[in-house]
Amino acid sequence: MWIKNVHLVDPAQGISGIRNVLVQDGVIQAISTDLDTGEQLSDEQALDGTGKYLFPGLIDVHTHLREPGLEEKEDIASGSAAAIRGGFTGIMAMPNTQPVIDQRALVEFVKHQGERAGLARVYPIAAVTKGQRGEELTEMVDLRAGGAVALSDDGRPIMNAEVMRLALEYAKLPDLIVITHSEDANLALDGCMHWGETSLALGLKGIPSSAEAVMVARDMLLAAQTGGKLHVAHVSAWESVEIIRQAKRQGIDVTAEVNPHHLIFSDEDVTLNSTALKVNPPLRSQEDCEALLQGALDGTIDFLATDHAPHTWEEKAQPMPEAPFGILGLETALPAVWQYLVQPGRLSVEKMVEMWSALPARRFHLPGGSLKVGEAADMVLFDPLAKERVSRDNLASKASNTPFLDQELRGLPVMTWVAGGLKQKDRRIL
C-alpha cells in the first residue's frame, strides 16, 4: 500500500515534508519524494494523504488501564481501544491495579491481555516495591524477564528515601528505569487542587508546589548518588523543571514527562465543583504552564504523556474533596495538544511528534518511534481539519472524566495502524 502525498513527520529521521510511503507485510518498504512512484499503482492500493500528516505511532509512557481489579473504570481492551482512537500504538501501563503488578505472573497477565485485545502494544510497568507499600523491593530481575519495561509506584510516592535509594541501586541489575511519582505525602495532605490564590479563595485544600519539588530534588540527589536511571512522571511545577534542568546539566541519567492538561489548564480554570479537572499533581499556575512548555522546548522535559486516569461517572459525581484524582487522556490528548499548542504556534508539530514517539521509544527501548525503512508500520494518519464532539457515546474508554466532554476538538487521527494492520479508520475501531 502506498500512502501518497502525505506530510510525513519523523523526527528520528529528520523528515518533515511531503512523501510517499510504501507499506508491505506490516513493514515500511520505501519512502520517496518522487511523487511519480505511486502513480503506477491502482487507486485501491494507494491512499491519498493530501492535506494530512503521517506520524510514527505515538507511544504513551503513562497510562492507567485499571485491569486487573478496577475494571469498572477501564480494562486493557477498552484502554487500548482508546489508545488507538487517540493515535497511540504503544502504551505503558501503570501497575497500581488490584492486585498491584508486583510479580512476574501479573506482568505476564497484563501483557497477554494486551495481546488478546490486539489493538495497541501494551507494555507493563511493574511496581518498585511489593504492593506499592514503599517498604520492600520487588523481584525486579524476574519482572523484567516477564516483560516489564520499567518500574513505578505511581500513585503512591515512595516516602522512605532509603527505599528509593535501594530501588535506584537494585534496578541497575535488570537495567530498568525507575519512574517516580514525586510527591511528599505530608505536604500534599488532603489537598485537592494547587495551593494558591484560587484554592484559598474557594476554601479548597491546596497541594503546594513544594510537595512535588522537594521530592524531585530528593530523587535527583539519589539518582546522582546511585547512578540509577530515573524518569520523573507528570512534572507540574516550575521549581521541578528548574531542578531537572540542573540535574541534566550535571549528567544525571534522568528524563521527565509533562501531561497535556498541565500545559493547557491552570488552577484558574478550577471551580468549586470541577471534578473533571481534579488531578494529581494538580493544575498549577499560568507561570507553571509557561515553565513546563519552556522545559519541553529546551529539552529539559523529554516526553509528552497522558497520565490517562479513568474513573467512573459516579466517582467523579461527588464534591471536589471526595472525588478521585485523574483525567482521561488517550483519546483527547493529541487533538488537544494540536489545538491548544501546535496550531497557535507554541509547539512545532515536529517537536510534538518527537516527544511522543521517538524519544520515549529510545528511552524505554520500545519498538517504533520512527518510520524508517524496515521498521514495523506503527503509524497514524492525522487530519488537521477533522472535527469531533467528545461525548460519552463516542469515547472508546469506559470512562468519560475528561474536561473536553461535550466540546468539539479539531485535528484528529483518522487512521491508526499497528504493524501495518489498520486498527482505526474514520474514528472507528476496526
Binding site: 479563595a201 479548597l204 464534591p319 474533596p321
Partner: protein
Amino acid sequence: MKWQRKDLLGLRDVSEQEIQFILETAKPMKEVLFRSVKKLPTLRGKSVVTLFFENSTRTRTSFEIAGKVLGADTSSVTVAQSSVAKGESLLDTVKTIRAMQPDVVIMRHPSSGAAEYIANILDVSVINAGDGQNEHPTQALLDMFTLKEHMGELAGKKIIIVGDILHSRVARSNAYGLLKLGAEVIFAGPPTLLPLEMKTLGVQVTYDLDSVLPGADAVMPLRLQMERQQKGLLPTLREYNRVYGLNLKRMEQTGKQTLVLHPGPMNRGVEIESDLADSALSVIEEQVTNGVAIRMALIYLFVGGSANDVD
C-alpha cells in the same frame, strides 16, 4: 428590589444590594421573635428540610426555629460523618431528599463546594449552612446584621477577624460580605493558620494582632479547633492564647468601645476569656437571636416571595 436568587451558596457572588435586602428583611423578622406568640402563618404548609452532614446543633436549631416561627414544617436529616465516605453517595441522598418535595433545603457538609453541588441537582432553593472551608453565608449575614444594629452603616469601619483563618468558612464569608459593605477587614492569626496570599481577597493580613487593635470597631475571634494543635499547626494552646487570646486587658488597646463577636461555640480561655465574653462589649448572645432572624428572612425570601407582606 425583588428577590430572584434561587440559592444562597455564599457571599462571594452576592451583590451589596442583595446583602442589604436580606438584612432589611431580617429586621421585621427579629421583631416577631420578641412577640409573646412567636408564630406566623406565612409559610403554612411549606416544607423546610435541614440536611446536616456535620454535627452542629446550634446552626441546625437556629434554622429549625426560623422555619417554625414562619409556620413552615421543618424536618431534619442528620447523616453521620462516617457514612459520607462509605455509605450512600451525596448524589443519592440528594435525590432522596428531592423526592420528598421540600420547598427549601438547608445543608451543612464537610466538603467545600457541596452546597453548590446539590444546588446544581435540585430545582428548589438551597441555603448553605456551611460547606467545608468554603463559605458559611448565614453566619456572616448575622454578624453583619449585629454590627449594623450597633454601628449603623459599616462603610469605613475597622473589623478584625482573629485566629484560624485558613480553615474558616466564617472568615471567608465575612470577608466577602463586609468588603461589599465597605468595611475595612483585617485577618490576624499565626502564620500556620493565615496564608499571606489571603490578602488577594481584598483584606489586610497580619500576624501581629496587637498592632492592628488600635481603632478597631469590632473584633471577632474564631473558634480554635483543638485538632489544629494536635496536627502540629500550633505548639500549644497556651501560646496561642498568649499571642491571640482576647481579654478585657488586650481590648483596651483599641481605645474605644469595641464590639466583640464570636461565631460560637466558644473555647473560653483559648481564643476568648470569660471577662471579655461576658462583658458589656460582647454581643455574642445577640448574634444567636439575630441568627434566627437572618435565617427567617432567607427562608421567607426563598419560599415566600416579596418582603412587603410581613407584619
